[in-house]
């Protein structure tokens, strides 16, 4: 049911566009009631209004602490027009049909680190009472808490000659209670903080069901949070099924992996680990090299690149090859944009999800992890290295700074214990040559990474008609092995030497660092400490 706004109370802290809304209300015969500062502004704009004191029967007092709170205003907002009209009339209470109110900017002062005294003065009491009373009685009353809503309200008033619909009143009520919940949350957090108690209140909304969670028998939902530094907030799906729970988790890892790469780069993520990763002179080259990091695991993966996907890149997947076994099936491709010719080719794989996403720079801030009954929060793992400190007689040779940064970026994103072996190709591209992930001991991860290198380099050699073992030895000597955390024993170093690795970077910090360094010296390996551990569980 539409309700004609016959009397409206305007009392705002943020005075944006308040004159406009008043003018529209007046146009449809509404009486305007207003308070101190808001009234002064209306007056200077030549708008006629009733002073709040005429309604309350009391002066504004106590430095503005009491302006609107009164029996008459509360009654005018709260009485049920269907049941209480006679009672209201007897009490001389006239209905108020609309409240336009926003609150003292408590959070602005809080964020500025204001003193307790200032914070307390900026807690709005009367405004919150107006908003909540009007919202409770939304069946009859409209409550507008945000200047961003004025255009919509003005529009509706103009369309319906001064009336507001039930649907709008319901939405306004919902906004109002979200507003007061957020407002008091801010106050509660500030007062906790002043008392030395560290609290966190998180608000997520617009939940939509996912097809399922990590597994088909688990229901799941995804929610949005309106945070400035959010990476996954804005993406656009160009084609394919909706993103799944596991897609979203993997995409987040993929974006993390790419965030420090300035050259055209590609990462291939499977089960939340980057199994392919490369940085090159073009996306096509980067994709090709990343795929070669682990061509078996790349099937069914999610792929992220930090440049537009062009025709040449799209053709890599062989989707138009009549022999289905030649097609490279992946679940998701995510990129800042896709060229039209690329989309045309990729659209032949109907289930493939194409996602456009803005690849920003490194994100700062905290990350949260909720596990049974507690929440952990921590700073993001941003700093790659403290600068290298060579520990061995042998120097790191043939190891460029960009390769070092690339190798550490890879190891950082691989689940612990993480080992990444990276190389620079003849064309100057950087490539993950093999990785070991998620093992309960470091030796096992080293084995995995080295054995992946071997199979990749043997395959490469046979494609080039080279001697496999020679090629393997030659490339391993130029490569760099990066460990996400210290080597607890010298055993992994022996494995590195057996596979022909010459250059190793690790953070250091073990009780047995000296044994590990001794082993490097004995086997003529070069090892530098980076000083920064990169566990990721």
């Amino acid at each position: 049911m539409q309700i004609q706004i016959k009397r409206a109370l305007l009392s705002v802290s943020d005075k944006t566009a308040i004159v406009q809304i008043a003018e529209v209300l007046l146009q449809y015969g509404c009486e305007i009631i207003s308070t101190g500062g808001t009234g002064a502004l209306l007056e200077s704009s030549g708008i006629k209004f009733t002073r709040i004191e005429e309604i309350t029967g009391n002066p504004e007092c106590f430095g503005g602490r009491v302006k609107t709170i009164s029996f008459n205003v509360a009654g005018g907002l709260l009485f049920d027009r269907d049941k209480d009209s006679a009672e209201a009339e007897k009490l001389g209470i006239q209905p108020i049909d609309m409240v336009v109110c926003n609150l003292y900017p408590f959070n602005t002062f809080r964020e500025a680190g204001a003193e307790l005294e200032t914070l307390i003065e900026n807690i709005d009491i009367g405004g919150v009472t107006l908003i909540r009373a009007a919202a409770k009685n939304f069946k009859h009353v409209s409550v507008v808490t945000d200047p961003a809503l004025y255009p919509q309200i003005i529009d509706e008033l103009e369309q319906s000659r001064g009336k507001i619909s039930y649907e709008t009143r319901f939405c306004l009520m919902r906004e109002a209670f979200n507003h007061t919940a957020d407002y008091d949350s801010g106050i509660a957090l500030a007062m906790d903080e002043k008392h030395g108690i560290d609290s966190v209140r998180l608000h997520f909304t617009e939940g939509t069901p996912l097809r399922y969670g990590e597994n088909p028998h688990q229901k799941a939902w995804v929610y949005k949070k309106s945070e400035n530094n959010a990476v996954l907030r804005g993406y656009r799906s160009l084609q394919g099924k909706e993103l799944s729970y596991n897609n979203l988790v993997d995409i987040s890892s993929a974006i993390e992996c790419l965030k420090n790469q300035s050259r055209p780069s590609c990462v291939i993520v499977k089960h939340n680990n980057p199994c392919g990763f490369a940085s090159a002179s073009s996306i096509k080259e980067a994709l090709n090299l990343a795929w070669e990091s682990d061509p078996i695991s790349a099937f069914g993966s999610i792929i992220a690149v930090n440049r537009s996907v062009d025709l040449a890149t799209a053709e890599f997947f062989n989707f138009e090859n009549p022999d289905r076994t030649k097609r490279k099936f992946v679940e998701v491709i995510i990129a800042p944009s896709f060229d039209n010719e690329a989309i045309q080719i990729l659209s032949s794989s109907k289930n493939l999800r194409l996602i456009e996403h803005f690849f920003g720079k490194s994100t700062r801030g905290l990350e949260y992890r909720i596990i049974d009954g507690i929440m952990l929060s921590q700073e993001r793992d941003e700093e790659l290295s403290k600068g290298l400190d060579l520990k061995t007689n042998e120097p790191l040779d043939d190891v460029s700074e960009d390769l070092i940064a690339f190798g550490i970026a890879a190891a950082r994103q691989i689940k612990s214990n993480a080992i990444a072996v990276v190389r620079k190709t003849e064309t100057g591209a950087l490539q993950l040559l093999g990785m070991g992930a998620g093992q309960p001991n470091r030796l096992e991860s080293t084995h995995l990474a080295l054995s992946r290198c071997r199979s990749n380099l043997y395959r490469e050699a046979s494609e080039k008609n080279l001697c496999c073992e020679d090629h393997f030895r030659f490339e391993m000597r130029k490569a760099l092995l990066v460990s996400d955390a210290f080597f607890p024993f010298p055993d992994s170093i022996e494995e590195c030497a057996i596979s022909g690795i010459k250059n190793i970077i690790q953070p250091g910090g073990s009780l047995r660092d000296s044994e590990v360094i001794q082993m490097c010296n004995k086997l003529k390996l070069a090892m530098a400490f980076s000083g920064i551990r990169h566990f990721k569980h």
Copy 2:
């Protein structure tokens, strides 16, 4: 500064112990003001009070929607005693020094799934105004929002002959704003829901800094959430350094792993994967078997058991062995309790954390995962299996139901791709014999699990002076291999056969299921489908 409570306003929805607090206030000469239902109860208990109407000058009206909201009450709560006293006197406003108020039980109705009409009627307006006004003026006013606080307040009133201190008023104010924030959060969520919008508001408090996060360069904090089904909420540290970020993550996994085990069981977690797991007739036996699942990775692990740690179990770690290399160093032992003799022995390892924790049954409910800009929530992965569906000519033989449940529980807790090989020992104990975790393809995880089995069984054979390969073959034939998700290709099956595995369980669901089953039949392996995938990323 202490403030004498000369006038108190009591208006409560939950009337628990309201008479007691009124009696104490009266005893120190306080005037009591009260409203409808609260007043009726005081009257029947013979307590003298002033009716709210005498203060407001207005009747309670509109079916109770307007009782306390008035210029006089708001003024009496809000005026600054240091600056506004003359103004208050001129206006005839008398100070109110305390508000005892709790709110209509909105959330009770919400949880009961009440209709919009009922929800709206249970939104408290006057009470929230009283509480917020009193809280804002906490420099002069005390506000009590929770009957649980009465004993403390009564105590302080009695100690100080009717006065309340600044510190208490501050704490009460902090409680009050947390209360109204929670209250309006509940309303906002309910109204979002009625509008078809799914929102989540999470509140964590009592944040304490951890030494650091996943890595030393990341600051980190841990927060509590007062949820009923929280697993990690209550634990007691008996000795050792504080739990680290990674300890907490690992402990949560360990508890999850144990939750379905009714027999004495032990799990050993490293980098968030169970590398050892056993269920036996005693904790000592379970620990011993779990350690043998991967004796290399067990060093520096966290260990959880579901029975009290006794002397025999404590002695397992050899902490009193003068040869330090014989001592089994672990980071954390977590158990429902520790016998005194056990503590005495374990305390010789000073950095070892001993944690007492209640091991509840399976937890239900949702789990949350916050990744950049979005939050994912999903039901927990609780259901182990839909019942087995044999797919091969060969039956599963020598495979008991408890072994099946144990094997699936292990695979569920291992990071994907997960392979778990489990066996039943001669004594009837269940043991994880080898696991493959966190690999980007299933064949690699199968390799890891089988190679761990081989090294464990060879070691066992040599300790028992048995032929290594014979023992390996014999045990593998009795063992059960469990995969957390389907086999995408028959290659892993061939690997199983090569290592002598006879029995396999997997959820099924691949396009190539028939090829995989064919391979089993060809190699005379038995395979059953469980119907439930257990990805964990």
